[in-house]
């Protein structure tokens, strides 16, 4: 009898743990915003450099090729607001030949829009970055 009770207790704890983990996993799976990490730090620094450089070649790229909005370095921040990331995901889906990313990095460019990047989407070794305005219309981008 004692043995049966212990087993029941263990089963209950196990079931509870499974339910907690399952809930967490489900919650994480639904997150559209990728969290801050070294990769996003590198992206943000690279964008900040483009936005503050005085190098003419880089300025040409930024303004005429990438169409990267120019904002103060402090306004280039990683988005953690799921509502915004979900809208960006929807914008990807709506693009010509679009697809629906599971999640992505979204960088806020002050009040001028967003830069987004899905690192899981690659063509060979290349990945792409899209620029969206505040209405989630793609206005630029680049690949590398």
């Amino acid at each position: 009898m004692t043995i049966v009770l212990i087993r029941s207790w263990r089963i209950a704890v196990f079931a509870f743990a499974v339910s907690i983990i399952g809930t967490k996993a489900a919650a994480q799976a639904s997150l559209r915003c990728r969290p801050a990490d070294n990769y996003s730090a590198n992206m943000i620094s690279n964008i900040q450099w483009y936005d503050t450089t005085t190098n003419a070649q880089a300025i040409y790229k930024r303004d005429s090729v990438m169409h990267l909005p120019v904002v103060n370095a402090g306004q280039v921040t990683l988005v953690t607001d799921e509502r915004i990331c979900t809208k960006v995901v929807d914008a990807y889906t709506a693009l010509p030949n679009g697809y629906t990313p599971a999640n992505l990095y979204v960088i806020k460019m002050g009040t001028k829009g967003y830069v987004s990047h899905d690192p899981s989407r690659k063509v060979g070794e290349f990945t792409v970055f899209f620029v969206f305005n505040t209405k989630y219309v793609r206005t630029g981008g680049w690949g590398g």
Partner: protein
């Protein structure tokens, strides 16, 4: 680029670093005879030539009108008489401009095969060539054809015909690239290998036809530098190439065969930016054997010791000049 696992041993790392540091110290200015791309007789790029032909669709671009060859300070010229159709004795060829003097002089029939090196030029500028008959006098400046660094110059002396074949010479510009400071890029045969890498990657073809290729720099005890470039070794596709290495591998170079701002099949619908993430993909940065990527305009080296968050400011970036020289480009104020 796609990684393939290779072998790495501490012994190899040690010998590699000693070879590289030794090379860094002894790097010297090396005569360069590789043929840079897209520069023609008057210094025109291929794009210039296209514009020229578009503007003058009925004519042959530049051949009938170019009479000078552009030189940089330090350039020399190697002149060889190809053929003659003259009667002078002596028949004399002079060079004018930033290099000046008598190139050859003698009986017309004896001139073919004569080779002479002149220079170097003290300053940048142009040179032109004229032939002189001892009786009929000097003709107009010779007509230049060809592309850097190999040219042909046809000249008339003062006899008065217009066929520009009284004396025909070949002119090779012997130029020097200043050392880039990078032990691999300054290898004597690296520039020609780079040129070949770009050609086999079809960088001058439509974007859809281009392919990544890779090559290794390996230990070579028979080479004065202790290294040699194995080429070509790795054929890839438009957006990647699989590289491998072994204990003899010192460096791995692969092509990104796209120009900056170009709409590539790998990045469509957005343009390619070569220097994003310091010039390389995460896979490029992970190669343990001194990895490089090479575009038609840039070469990037990836130091695995650089933290991921600092890759954007990769300081090992080299601009490729029109002569296929490599010049380190420091665009970051904190370097």
């Amino acid at each position: 680029m796609v990684l393939r696992k290779g072998m790495l041993s501490g012994l190899v790392v040690l010998s590699l670093s000693s070879v590289l540091s030794s090379c860094d110290q002894t790097t010297s200015t090396v005569p360069e005879t590789a043929s840079p791309r897209r520069v023609s007789a008057s210094g025109m790029t291929s794009a210039d030539s296209v514009a020229f032909v578009a503007e003058f669709p009925g004519g042959s671009p530049a051949l009938a009108t170019v009479t000078t060859i552009s030189l940089e300070a330090g350039d020399s010229i190697l002149v060889s008489v190809q053929s003659t159709d003259c009667s002078g004795n002596p028949e004399t060829v002079n060079v004018y401009g930033v290099i000046s003097g008598v190139v050859v002089s003698g009986s017309c029939l004896t001139l073919p095969g004569t080779t002479v090196q002149l220079g170097p030029a003290a300053v940048a500028g142009t040179v032109s060539f004229r032939a002189t008959h001892q009786s009929y006098g000097q003709g107009p400046s010779g007509q230049v054809s060809g592309s850097f660094p190999y040219f042909t110059v046809g000249m008339n002396d003062g006899y008065g015909d217009t066929d520009y074949n009284d004396v025909i010479i070949s002119v090779q510009v012997i130029f020097h690239c200043a050392p880039s400071g990078d032990a691999i890029l300054d290898l004597p045969d690296f520039r020609s290998r780079y040129d070949s890498l770009m050609k086999i990657s079809k960088v001058d073809s439509a974007v859809g036809r281009r392919q990544e290729w890779g090559m290794r720099v390996v230990l070579d005890p028979n080479s004065p530098s202790g290294m040699s470039v194995n080429w070509p070794e790795f054929q890839g596709g438009p957006c990647g190439v699989e590289l491998s290495w072994d204990n003899s591998t010192i460096a791995l170079i692969h092509s990104h065969p796209y120009f900056d701002n170009e709409l590539s099949p790998c990045t469509a619908p957005v343009p390619y930016i070569s220097d994003w993430n310091g010039g390389g993909s995460p896979e490029d940065w992970a190669v343990p054997k001194r990895p490089y990527s090479a575009t038609p305009q840039w070469i990037f080296r990836f130091d695995p010791a650089v933290a991921e968050r600092d890759r954007w400011k990769n300081k090992w970036r080299y601009q490729v000049t029109s002569r296929d020289c490599f010049v380190r480009n420091s665009i970051f104020p904190f370097e």
